[in-house]
Symmetry: C2
Subunit: 279 residues, 2 copies
């Protein structure tokens, strides 16, 4: 099979826009579509998909993936038989499995490939990409993934990429609340923020979230690198998925209402560092 | 004031033994004492302290610090006036403040200097050292700290070093439970451990704890690098200290009984990775 040349990219948000740019920079012919009409290069997903070898979706959740693929002027019907659909959104593993089955029924291949890294890594092309699906489809997609990410891992069959993403994002969500609680105590006790963040970075409590969100939490600055409402969605999917496996996630279940409270108080579109406002 | 030459080191456990060895390697004359008589180079803390410029304590908690310093054959009375006591244990900030006051009353200087890094970093001399106390005392202690650590931070006045340590360790304790929950779900769902740990290391859920404890949790191997009962103690001190500041730590309060259950089930002296057995 020939290497893909023409890529349709649906979802040009905080993550999708820089990812699509990296594909263009790597020499792919990219045809974009996004929901906000004023920012969309094409008028429908079907227009974007016309003649594409690969379609990438990067949208908030499974209803949006389904709408892009199967809604009015959806992309699936516009793709040539044998084209590959790669959903890079974070959605429930069960939804990924059923979308994959439906696409296969229409003669299309499907990979799930959720990413980790938020906007700076999307811009630098250094995302972690968690692939679920057939190995042959991953090889077909590899040139695209290499333009967008630096750690490309075949986690397993369809569903396993999404599950890994939900579990790791939920750990991040919990780390952010643990950090927020520390920040609140440190502030009350009059600890120097610089000194605290410096020792924390060299401590058993260090984390990716500490490095990215420690300073913003002390400074109360919440410009979104990853929106709080998306983190809340991922935590909810993770709780549901674990429950389907017979596991009650106690920490995830405890942080969920804290994120929900921050969202309800006006921080849905803030960075998830704003969870500190609800601690 | 002259640079210290002779160091008494009380507490030669998992952490203390390699720390004392690094002091010797750096040219200090070290006189050690430890509670287990068969492993102790001297017979009492007072013997060890005889003629020392600096006394270091590295023991489980404040009752042990107080016993080493002020108990029968305690070290404090054996030290020359003006000698410096450095407690590198992790204890409650309030206890550190009162021990410091009592030592000052006896003509001795005092620094708190709890460490982060567990055994491998104690061996490599790459600990993070969180210093609370007077800047002049820190300068006096710096040659010792440089032999044991690589990140030496003056967090603030007495109590602030201990508070930073409790907050960062408690974040680590929470991260371990969050990781344990993920490991349990990953196992149930049949996720490949290697793939999961690889993507997690590149994800928003990455942490120092993930790197150190992810593999041991999947492998159910709990040789102690940092004992679970010590983590439990730190979490309890942290909850109490936050409460004294008027803050209820919800996540810490949720993980405390999980550690307690693992300890009660026989894992008190296991590594804190064994918390996965109680999730």
């Amino acid at each position: 099979m020939e290497s893909p040349r023409k890529v349709a990219f649906c979802g040009l948000g905080i993550m999708g826009a820089p990812m699509a740019e990296n594909l263009e920079r790597a020499g792919f012919e990219v045809s974009g579509w996004t929901r906000t009409a004023s920012r969309s290069p094409t008028s429908t997903p079907a227009d974007a998909a016309e003649g594409a070898d690969v379609l990438v979706t990067m949208v908030p959740d499974s209803p949006e993936v389904e709408s892009v693929l199967f809604g009015p002027d959806g992309a699936a019907a516009a793709l040539a038989p044998g084209a590959l659909v790669i959903d890079m959104s974070t959605i429930a593993p069960g939804a990924a499995r059923s979308i994959g089955e439906r696409l296969e029924g229409e003669g299309l291949a499907f990979l799930e490939a959720p990413v980790s890294g938020s906007r700076p890594k999307a811009e630098d092309g250094t995302l972690t990409i968690m692939v679920g699906g057939a190995a042959a489809d991953l090889e077909r997609a590899r040139p695209l993934f290499e333009a967008m990410g630096e750690r490309i891992v075949h986690v397993g069959p369809r569903g396993h990429g999404q599950l890994a993403k939900l579990l790791t994002n939920t750990m991040g969500a919990i780390h952010a609340v643990a950090l927020a609680e520390s920040v609140v105590v440190a502030r009350r006790a009059g600890l120097d923020p610089e000194a605290f963040l410096e020792v924390a970075a060299g401590s058993a409590g260090n984390s990716t979230v500490l490095g990215l969100k420690g300073r913003p939490m002390f400074d109360e600055r919440y410009e979104p690198l990853f929106k709080l409402e998306h983190m809340l969605k991922d935590v909810r999917h993770c709780i549901a998925e674990a429950r389907a496996q017979g596991v009650e996630l106690r920490l995830a279940t405890m942080v969920e209402p804290i994120y929900a409270a921050a969202a309800a108080a006006g921080h849905a579109e803030s960075d998830f560092a704003a969870v500190v406002t609800a601690v």
